[in-house]
Structures are given as C-alpha cells and as structure tokens.
Symmetry: C2
Subunit: 486 residues, 2 copies
C-alpha cells in the first residue's frame, strides 16, 4: 500500500475524515467531512496557527460570510477570469478539464488559461477522443468555478466565496478604523471557501468545499525595510528553492537579495517557525520561488511553502506580494476611498498574503507522523506532537471490576473537561494501547491493582512505550506541562 | 437609545460584528460578519460549550460539509416542506412574507404553514394592499428557504444545509461504528447553516447565514430512565415555564412528571449549567415547554431555552425529542439499515436534540453584560466573564518613553502567544481604561515609574476599578488562575 492508502484507511477507520453524504452513494466527489478525531486535530492545528502567527504578531482575525455580493467578484475579477477550460463528449456527455486532458494524452505542459480556440485546435490536431467512450467532443467552453446562489424572493445574484481573502479586502476600511490600526497590519481569517472543480481529486487534496486560513498583511510600500520586529526572527533558517535548494538565515537571504525586503522575510520566517511546530519534517519542506509564468499576474513576488509527500511536492501555503491590486479594484468598483494615513502620509496599502490550505496541512501532518514500528509487532503509530493529538490521554482500567471503574471515573472527572480524554475498558490492555497509538495519543494512564491501594496510576508513553507511576492527583499538572508548546 | 441600539453601536464601533460586504451598499440583508472582538468572544463561547457539554459528556464532534446532496433533503422533507408563504406586489414588485403581513395588518395569529388558498382568501377578505405602494398582490406562493447550488459541469442539484443536524444524521452509522459507540451517544457539530429568509431581521437575530452548535443524542427509547449519570446533575435548579413559571430541581421535575424522563432531564440540566457560566443572568432565562400547536410534528416533547432581552423572550436553544423520525426517513430513502446493537438487542435509535443558535447567544451575552456605571462618569463596561472576554489583558505604558516601552514589550512577549492581549500607548491612561472596559477586558496592567525600578506593574480590575501591584514574572500565572472556569 502507498502512504496515501495507509492514511486514507486510517482516516476512514478511525474517524479522521470521510466522504460527505456517504449514505447516498451517488454523492458528488470533492466533499469530505471531519470525524471526531479529525475535528480535534484540525482545531488544535488552527489554534497553533493563531498562537504562532496571529497572536504573536498582533494580527486581527475576522470571520466573514461565505455568501458574498456579486459586486465583490466583479471587482476582484473572479466573475470574468476564475474559470477552467472544459470539453464535453457528444456521445456519452462526460465532461473533462481540457488542459488536464490534453496534458495526459499528449504529454505536454498546458496552461489552464489557454484560450478556447487553442484548446479546440490542440484536440483536433492530436485527435483526442473521450477517454470513456472514444466519442468526439463539442467545442470547449470556459467553466466558472464559483458556485452561484440566489438571495431572497427577487433572486439577487450572489456567490459562495472562492477564497477567504475577499472578505478581508472589503472589510479592511472598517477594521483599520475601529482597531485604530497602524501599518503594517495583518488581518487573518479562518473559514470555508468553495470552488466548483470540474474533476476534484481524492481525499483532502483538492476539494470543492475547503478550509483556508489566510493572512493579508497591509503595508506601506515605501517602508518594506522599516520593520524593527524583523530582528526577532533574523536567524530563522529558511529552505529556499529557486532553481536550486539553499538553506540560509533570513538575514542572509536579505543580504544576498534572495528575498526582496524585510517585510516578506519576516512573515516567511514566522510561517516557517510555525510549521516547525506542527511535526511536519523541516527537511521535507521548502519555500519555492515561483517563476514569472507561474505566479498570478498581480503578484510581484511569490513563494509557495511546499511539503514533500508521497505525491511529490504539495503546496500548503501560497505567499504572494499582491501589491495594491485588490484595494485598487475594490476602490474603483465601490467608489470608496481606501487610502489610510501612515505617519501623516496618505497611502493605498499594498498587501502581502499567506494563504494556507488547512485540509492539505492536516493530510501532510498525518502522513509525516505515520510510522510502522518494525521493532514492535509492526504497531502503527502517529507520532503527533502531544499538543496536536486528537486524544491527549487514555484512561484504561486493567479489569472491568467496580473498584477499577470507580478509580477511573475519579481520574476522568478530574481531567475530562479541559483535555481530550478517551476512556476504554474493552479488550486486552495491549489492544487498547494499539488503538490509542494509532490516533497519536501521547499518554495512556492505566488503573491497576496498585491504584486501588495508593491512588497512583501508570503513565505509558506512546513513542518509547516506557512506563512510570504517578499520583492521580498529579495527572492534571503533568498534562498541563506535557502539552505546553515551546 | 434602546439596549439593542446600544449593543449595535458598540458592535459596529468596536469590531464585534457588522454587515457583510458593506463596501457595496446594495448588499443584501441578513449577512453579518464578526470583527476581531466578535471572533474572540465567539470562539471562547464555543470552547465553553465544548467543555461543559461535549467533553463533559464524552460526546463526539464532527464537522461536515455545508453543501449537501439533494437526496438528503428529499429524505428530511426540507425540499417539500421547508418553505414560507410569500406574496408579490403587482405594481412595485416588492415581496412580503404573507403570514407576517396578514399578522401585522389584521392583528391575528397566522401560521407560516397556512395553505396558499387560505392566504389568498385572507388577503382578499381583509383587503390587504402592498405596504410600499398600496398595489394589489399576485396569488401567493410557497418560497423554499434552502439555497440551491449546482455542482460540476453537469449541474448536479445540491443545497446549502438549512440545519447542521442533517450531517449528523447521515454520518451517524459511520461515527457509531468507528467510535465503537454505545447508546446513549451524543454527536455534536458547530458550523454554518443557511436559510433564504424572505425578510431577515436586524443584526444577529435572524440571519440568512448563521452559526449553529447542535447536539443530537442517539438513545434507546426503552432506556430513557436508565441513566446512571443523571445522579451528577439531579440537584440542578431548572426554571420551567409551562403556562406558569416554576423553579424546581431536575429530580423533582421528574417526580412531578414535568419532565418526561431522565435522559431529557439530564441534558436539559447540562444545558442550564452551561448557560450559568456564560454570564447570561439565570433569573432571566427559562425552559419553555412548547404546546402541541407550536412544536414540530415529529417531536413528542419540546422545550425552548429562552432568554429575556430588550425584545422580549428570545429562543436560544430548541430542545426536541425527535424520536426516530430522522433515522427512519434517511433509512427509507437510502435503503440503508440504520439499526444498531444495544446490549445485544437491535434498536433504531431515537434522537433528543439541543439545537443552539450561536449568533443569538453572542448577542444575548453582550446585552446582559452591558452596564453604564452611574457612579463613575457613566462609563460603559461589559461585565463579561473573564474567560469569555475578547481581550483578557491590556498592557498600558504610562509614558511613551523608551524605558516604558521596553518593559511593556517584555511583559507582552511573556503573555501574547497564550492570551489575548492589547497593547495601547495612545491617549490618557483614563481613556485607555475606558476603551478596555468597553470591550470587557477584565485586567489592565500598567507600566509606571516603579516598574522601571523593581519590575512590578499594577493590575487594575475592570469592575471594581481597584488596583494592586504584582511582579511582571507573576503576571502569567495570575492570568492562568484568573481565567479558570470553575
């Protein structure tokens, strides 16, 4: 089995994630949901993101609606440009993303932005037929990837947002004003976005409904190197890939002009420091500089934070210097003046963005944490950071007798409100340890004969399998200490 | 100004919440978003809900997609029944919710389930005209309140869920299986739901896109009084309204048959205990028993948890014993067998539901916490529970000098990752205190001349305005202690 298959099997069997509406077998691809263990790891991951980026930097977080006015997407360009080329078979009615189809059949790089005439020509020249039934295709069309909805009895046109950042741009004037903000100001948002993909990929990697955690840093373009707090992170080691891989500190990267300014270097460093705490192996990550062909037309410099997975390099965070593209578009469509004062000078802020795909991060953390222990009966374990583990503590009475249950309940009621605890009394103690290891539980507390005598329990550690005794009254402070983030 | 006006003004000016897409003035009603202070109080409220209900009871939490298959809503009955009567003016094209219109014009109680012929008759009999232009109406229609979306290039029909509980029902078989669940089993979900209201109300009270926190307890209908854990909450005092108000313990309510069984009594008690920790005044809440006319047809017993606001009694949580209505509907549409084993007997579980409207709770907490201090310059303060306050600590250097800033930074870096802290150096110290009180910050730490000498700061308490000195090194443990939930 591939690593992907291992993870998907674990996800399905242990309630990390699974397809939406699976009771109805015809349900559409690209919709997955989080089960109990998935919700817990996702929430802890997002809490870590808040801690290491939002709170650390003093950013402001908002939570905007997912249904947004048509005018927002007129201004942003999504109504006109956010589309993929699609072809439909005349015989069996199957639809395909044209650029991917040509790419697969002709083994050439094809841009998704290819014009319709060019698409039709390539299909004709290469005699490409429907992969399902060998039929011919209708002329290609552009398929807009936004989901449309109609509001109220007058059917006003609106859209599910295809990216969370649009809420941040349109809310910027109010947030800046009511927070008495100063540039640079980071505004962050966690939330769902929606893209009507033509052919969504398996699992959490390309979804039609997905979580983003986005940060838009509004800054004065004249002061990108005027950033005192850069000093705090200047020694952060960055792995930058630009035709070749180099490992370099943030300040060296600035000196050698590998990074354009302190502001970009500072936020990329925060991002790397954050990922170093997720359990994703640092040596299997990189900041890849995008070529001019790859990056969005509004971005003057773009880096993808990528992680090495069993699929190859996977983009987790898009980091784009979007300049004044967004505020300018919204200002011209809404006729609002979006300039703000920075040290008594009027500025239309530029934006540096860190756009993180949450679901892909969760997948990557699971893949990097997954181990099969050859030394010990091929036990499967997730070596998750304790503060990211869905279940932090197991409580296991050795026997099903009342006195064991009572002591277990005593421990449970001490810790179950503030920690994620799983109480398990069924099966052999070995099997119960296995079940906990499989979902990454770092600590198992066993109630045994000695507990009845002296109110101590054993702690068993997931990775080393070593054990030690501790008083029940000390378990709470043990957990607080062990779940601290350094 | 009314209490509502006070809250909305505070919400707008201090970034609790505000209309979505407000840059585009034509944006539709019923869409509001949370600003930085709103996000923080909402997240803390939800964390308290998780602590006091989900974790305490050992429930499982899922996070499902918002776009769901058409078949789900065929089964649930929403496609057929989830509609309001609407009338449209022939002259000015305005649309109105017919039942509300008749109610306003004729001052009679009208059900939203009134048949179209009856609506038309009432409009004719009472000669009701368009309130905008005095025009006549077209015949009334039923307006389905679900938002429709189309998936993929074949335009497959799907809907934004109108309630989060449908994800829980369709996921029940997998969750029960992979968690090796036992009845009773609570499955919880926090997430967005969507209702295309004809005329949404102001603010957070009736939204088209809103947050729910729902719990569905799956249980064996033969064992509703077989619940050991009821003992833990039997002395909870419940305020039950059923034609008259009574205050009674959970166990007395059972004895007197005011509540039907231990399971219902247990979960209502957990709910009341939870709300007692939110800062909503207990004496201004009640569990109102719904009459047969009011409750949903599938519910054998229904209570609304209501709170007294400046609008009168507002429903925060709908508590319905839904029996086997949902699992039966999904089982018959999907042809899946949804029975589970309970102590070696096959059971189709019944469901008791606690469906909480998050946005209304946030509004109610703000209204109940809002005080104008007549003793002290009419200062406005939010007397929020410290663990629900958006900002937990202010850091205020008395002077703008470097030595004051440095000490402030020292304190900031000790606490800003793990607590919500606001650093403020502008304006008089009095005005800075006011700004913190207005958003409910319980503690303000001031860096003054003595700080420079001995590394102590003053703590100022929001409610009493009293002050005391504390070492900077002790602030962290002071906050941990003061933010504990009892």
């Amino acid at each position: 089995m591939s690593a992907y298959d291992d993870i998907i099997q674990l996800a399905l069997e242990r309630g990390f994630y699974f397809p939406s509406c699976e009771l109805y077998s015809d349900s559409s691809a690209g919709f997955w949901e989080y089960g109990p263990n998935g919700v817990k790891i996702k929430n802890k991951f997002l809490e870590l993101w808040r801690r290491e980026l939002v709170r650390r930097d003093g950013m402001l977080e908002i939570d905007g609606t997912q249904i947004m006015s048509k005018k927002v997407f007129l201004a942003s360009g999504h109504l006109k440009n956010f589309s993929d080329p699609v072809v439909k078979c005349k015989k069996c009615n199957s639809s395909f993303r044209a650029d991917k189809l040509i790419q697969d059949e002709v083994k050439m790089e094809v841009s998704e932005r290819l014009q319709s005439e060019k698409v039709d020509l390539l299909i004709k020249e290469n005699d490409i037929k429907c992969p399902n039934c060998n039929g011919d295709f209708y002329k290609s069309e552009r398929f807009n990837m936004m989901f449309k909805v109609e509001i109220g009895p007058n059917h006003d046109e609106a859209y599910l947002r295809p990216e969370t950042c649009q809420s941040i741009f349109v809310d910027f004037p109010r947030i800046f004003k009511v927070s008495r903000g100063r540039l640079p100001l980071g505004i962050a948002q966690i939330g769902k976005s929606f893209r009507n993909e033509i052919s969504p990929r398996q699992g959490l990697l390309r979804l039609r409904e997905f979580y983003q955690a986005e940060i838009e840093v509004f800054c004065n373009p004249q002061k990108l190197d005027d950033l005192q707090k850069f000093e705090d992170v200047k020694d952060t080691i960055l792995r930058i890939y630009d035709k070749q891989m180099i490992e370099i500190t943030a300040s060296q990267a600035l000196e050698k002009e590998i990074l354009p300014n302190k502001l970009v270097a500072y936020y990329l460093s925060l991002l790397v420091n954050f990922f170093n705490k997720t359990g994703i192996s640092n040596k299997r990550t990189r900041l890849r500089r995008l070529s001019d062909d790859e990056k969005a037309f509004y971005s003057s410099v773009s880096f993808d934070f990528e992680v090495d997975t069993s699929f190859g390099w996977l983009e987790l965070v898009a980091c784009n210097y979007r300049s004044d593209y967004d505020l300018l578009s919204h200002s011209s469509t809404s006729k609002a003046n979006l300039h703000v004062m920075d040290d008594e000078i009027k500025v239309l802020p530029h934006v540096f963005e860190l756009s993180l795909g949450v679901d892909r991060c969760i997948y990557s953390i699971l893949e990097h944490s997954y181990f099969i222990d050859k030394e010990k009966d091929d036990r499967v374990l997730l070596k998750l950071k304790p503060y990211l583990s869905p279940v932090q503590a197991g409580i296991l009475p050795l026997l099903k007798k009342d006195e064991f249950k009572n002591k277990s309940q005593m421990l449970l009621s001490l810790i179950n409100k503030d920690f994620d605890v799983f109480y398990d009394e069924s099966g052999s103690i070995g099997r119960r340890y296995r079940r906990l290891e499989e979902i990454g539980t770092p600590f198992a507390f066993t109630i045994d004969h000695q507990t009845i005598e002296d109110d101590t329990v054993t702690i068993r550690y997931r990775d080393s399998m070593s054990q030690e005794r501790i008083k029940i009254s000390e378990v709470r402070s043990f957990l607080i200490k062990s779940l601290c983030i350094d």
